[in-house]
């Protein structure tokens, strides 16, 4: 099982989740996706949206400054 990284710190809603969904579609079942995003709307919405659509959110951690890391399992 591989881990993938996606940086959406420069994206705005809803493209944050659109790009996350694209990446999730591209990776294999069981793989994890590490999403780097900023606080505010992306951090508030993305883990919630991912859960709503059936993905497992493994962790949400602060990286530095406004940047956070969300790990999602497909």
């Amino acid at each position: 099982m591989a881990n993938h990284v996606l940086d959406i710190t420069n994206e705005h809603c809803p493209m944050t989740f659109v790009k996350t969904k694209l990446k999730l579609a591209q990776i294999a079942e069981g793989d994890t996706l590490e999403v780097l995003l900023t606080e505010g709307e992306p951090l508030n919405n993305l883990p919630k949206s991912a859960k709503e659509q059936g993905y497992q959110v493994l962790s949400v951690t602060h990286v530095e400054g406004p940047v956070h890391k969300v790990i999602i399992q497909k």
């Binding site: 809803p14 493209m15 659109v18 969904k21 694209l22 999730l24 579609a25 591209q26 659509q53």
Partner: protein, 274 residues
């Protein structure tokens, strides 16, 4: 796999966000090839929504030219298009909405001698025609070719539609054959509220997108009817019949038929072909 450009991700973002569509569904929409028979009241919204949705290839069959009286409902055509071939005008609008859609124009009427050939290039057929002979022709050709299609019809304030997939009830399971020429008026004789073309056409477009994405339940074995006067919508169960002259056990309809059309329809077609 799932190679979408930045522009595509943005354009289709509202589809991709949907759990039931997603990137996978949008990919299936992009790979889809849809034939729309008739670039009129129903074909207009169908073509426009399917183009906007990013259907990969849209074919349009119509031999007619745009008439001023079409513009009350055929919103794919505009005033400067009067006199132009409908397929050309429709193609222009589709490409203005979404340049990535491949548009194939069939500047012809669907007939027994060209129907199977034309539909063979497509995955799904949408009936946007205004007369019974062609509705039966589309049904027969699609059933024979094992091709799914959306039936649609409107008149005055009413509309009806169902979706066929191989194995479900076909038009002839319920209706033996077209009514005698002239027995039932067409839109051009009886009139139609323009907006109901949009109501029914968008239902057909939604069914098409549901077919490709696999979302929800199609209107198979169900005839959806509505009356815009009361805004009553009804779903009537349709049954596949073993006695169906087309898809039953002992079919009597074994080849495509050009049924007679009401003479005024033929006259108007001839006139517009000049």
């Amino acid at each position: 796999m799932y190679d979408f450009t930045e522009e595509e991700l943005n354009r289709y973002s509202r589809h991709i966000l949907l759990k039931d569509v997603g990137v996978e569904g949008q990919e299936r929409i992009r790979a889809a090839k849809v034939l729309i028979v008739g670039a009129g009241g129903l074909g207009a919204p169908v073509a426009m929504y399917l183009a906007a949705a990013g259907i990969g290839k849209i074919g349009i069959v119509d031999g007619d030219v745009v008439d001023l009286s079409n513009l009350q409902r055929q919103i794919i055509h505009t005033t400067p298009d009067v006199g132009r071939y409908k397929v050309e005008s429709a193609k222009e609008t589709i490409q203005a909405i979404n340049p990535s859609v491949e548009v194939v124009t069939h500047r012809d009427f669907l007939m027994a001698n060209n129907a199977l050939d034309i539909i063979s290039d497509y995955d799904f057929v949408v009936d946007g025609t205004d007369n019974f002979p062609v509705k039966f022709l589309i049904n027969d050709a699609c059933v024979m070719a094992g091709k799914p299609f959306s039936h649609g019809g409107i008149l005055r304030f009413e509309g009806q539609t169902f979706t066929y997939v191989p194995g479900s009830a076909c038009y002839r399971c319920t209706f033996d054959g077209p009514p005698p020429a002239g027995a039932v008026p067409t839109c051009s004789q009886a009139g139609v509220l323009g907006a109901i073309a949009g109501m029914l056409g968008t239902i057909q477009a939604a069914e098409t997108l549901k077919y490709f994405t696999g979302v929800g339940e199609l209107l198979t074995n169900k005839l959806l009817t509505f009356n815009a006067k009361t805004m009553d919508f009804r779903k009537i169960n349709l049954k596949r019949h073993d006695r169906c002259p087309l898809c039953g056990k002992n079919p009597t309809v074994t080849h495509l038929i050009d049924y007679e059309q009401a003479t005024c329809d033929l006259a108007s077609h001839k006139a517009s072909n000049k």
